[in-house]
């Protein structure tokens, strides 16, 4: 499976479309011997109600500068939320289905990613 297939795929819950996959959040664990960076695994998906190219990133990181542009991009991606992997019912070619009781979390990357 390719991560690219998930990006911008429609997200459905109870047969109704609730948005699109704005991004796929990965968890990079501490690396094991024989590698320098841990093998990332899918932590969850960031769902945005609109099909915007919202990866400019303002809506999820602490960056708020330059002020007006950041406000615009945050407004454009308003209503985005994070759904954790266990809450996903199906990941297929034509989209992602959420479980009926899927919990919606804040999409903010609270800690600055130490990239």
């Amino acid at each position: 499976m390719f991560l690219g297939d998930l990006v911008a795929a429609p997200v459905l819950q109870d047969g109704r479309r609730v948005g699109y996959v704005a991004d796929v959040r990965l968890l990079v664990p501490p690396h094991t011997p024989g590698q320098r960076v841990g093998t990332p695994r899918v932590y969850g998906i960031v769902v945005c109600p609109r099909r915007t190219a919202s990866f400019v990133g303002y809506e999820r990181t602490g960056v708020r500068e330059p002020r007006l542009l950041a406000a615009f991009f945050r407004w454009r991606a308003r209503g985005s939320f994070l759904v954790l992997w266990p809450d996903l019912a199906r990941v297929g070619e034509n989209g992602v289905d959420l479980r009926l009781d899927a919990r919606r979390w804040s999409a903010d990357l609270d800690s600055r990613p130490q990239l």
């Binding site: 400019v56 500068e65 330059p66 542009l69 600055r112």
Partner: protein, 408 residues
């Protein structure tokens, strides 16, 4: 060689950006028709390019990422490809005009028809890209290009009437010129000052020279010396045209008319110096735009690039530039007027500018790239003001070009 001329990259970028064949003629046309009433646009443009190049240079120095890598990374493949197509076409147009510009300048020195010089010029540009080190290239072209300071000398020798010039500065469109033409040339001058290839070249040059966060002071110096110098010289060109060609009622269309005031002011010696300077400036611009075609494609598709590597280490980068030079020569062989090509390319670069400026403004605030070297508040305010200016110019460029028939 590198330390000899620490601001060589800034000077060369500015000369290629402000004093290429298109700017020489556009500034003279503006001077001969509007005098200095459009000088404020050059000042606004200089501040804009200083801001833009300073951010792009800082990102390249601290994170090692040149501009077009960021365009794709921040805008995504779709918008990135649209920007690539626009920027590549503009680079190719400008490259064609610059090779023609070199030939026109050599024609002034030799009166051998310029079409005979075109293949020679293209071959010389390729050889410098293929063999000559980046430092040597920027130092030599930058130094010889400085001969264009002769325009400032000519301007003062012509004895400018400062009261008349300041009147022009304050007066909007002079009599006999329609506002649409006035604003067309305002957008053209703004686009000429903020051409995207300047930033592609400057940021990639920072990577070529191996700048790191210790070189930020040098990057700022390059920007604050190079671009204002370029702006001042374009004002001098407009001034010379205003003092000599405007009273004669001459409408400038050729390079030979642009340098007439220099002969008037300083005679043969200054004329020869200026012609040599024009050869160097158009040669610098040709190098800058040819390299930009290579930089943009390589950085978008992730090919190996850079003059600090042997050509064999960056095959697709070099093949792109060779093909572009050949296309340029072929287009020039059809007898198209190089000056008209630049007037068109300057307008289109104004249209494509927001697509390159926005990612740089965003990434210049991203701690992942710059750590603590992100934009200070003041720079962000200026950055956003210029983003609005750039958007307005981008939207207005094409309608103005149509309405005025490219500034007739």
């Amino acid at each position: 060689m590198k330390r000899l001329f620490a601001v060589a990259l800034g000077v060369l970028t500015a000369i290629g950006g402000f004093l290429d064949i298109g700017d020489l003629v556009t500034n003279a046309v503006v001077g001969s028709r509007f005098g200095w009433s459009l000088a404020w646009v050059v000042v606004v443009g200089v501040v804009g390019i200083c801001l833009f190049a300073q951010m792009a240079g800082r990102v390249a120095a601290v994170s090692g990422r040149a501009t077009f890598e960021l365009v794709r990374e921040r805008m995504g493949p779709r918008l990135g490809l649209a920007n690539l197509a626009a920027s590549f076409l503009i680079n190719l147009l400008t490259l064609t005009a610059e090779v023609g510009g070199i030939a026109l300048a050599l024609q002034l020195a030799s009166s051998v028809h310029y079409l005979l010089w075109v293949p020679v010029a293209a071959l010389a540009v390729w050889q410098v890209i293929w063999r000559v080190g980046f430092d040597v290239m920027e130092n030599v072209t930058g130094l010889v290009g400085l001969l264009l300071v002769g325009f400032a000398v000519a301007f003062f020798l012509l004895g400018p009437d400062w009261t008349q010039l300041t009147d022009q500065l304050l007066q909007r469109a002079p009599h006999g010129e329609s506002p649409a033409t006035y604003w067309f040339y305002a957008v053209a001058l703004f686009g000429a000052a903020l051409t995207p290839y300047e930033v592609f070249f400057f940021s990639s040059g920072a990577v070529e020279e191996g700048w790191s966060s210790e070189d930020l002071a040098q990057s700022r110096l390059n920007v604050l010396v190079g671009f204002p110098l370029g702006g001042l010289l374009s004002l001098a060109i407009a001034g010379c045209a205003a003092l000599t060609l405007m009273p004669l009622g001459v409408e400038v269309t050729t390079l030979s008319q642009v340098v007439l005031p220099v002969a008037e002011a300083g005679g043969r010696v200054l004329l020869i110096a200026i012609i040599l300077g024009v050869v160097a400036a158009t040669f610098g611009a040709a190098l800058e735009t040819t390299l930009s075609t290579g930089y943009t494609l390589a950085q978008f598709f992730g090919w190996s690039w850079g003059k600090f590597r042997a050509p064999a280490e960056a095959a697709r980068f070099h093949i792109t530039m060779i093909v572009c030079l050949l296309v340029g020569v072929a287009v020039l062989a059809t007898g198209v007027d190089p000056v008209m090509v630049t007037e068109i390319s300057v307008v289109f670069s104004a249209v494509a500018l927001p697509l390159t400026y926005l990612p740089i403004l965003i990434v210049a605030n991203d701690p992942d790239y710059l750590g603590d070297q992100v934009n200070p508040r003041l720079l962000n305010i200026a950055g956003q003001v210029y983003f609005v200016l750039i958007l307005v110019a981008s939207v207005a460029a094409i309608p103005l070009m149509i309405v005025t028939g490219v500034g007739r």
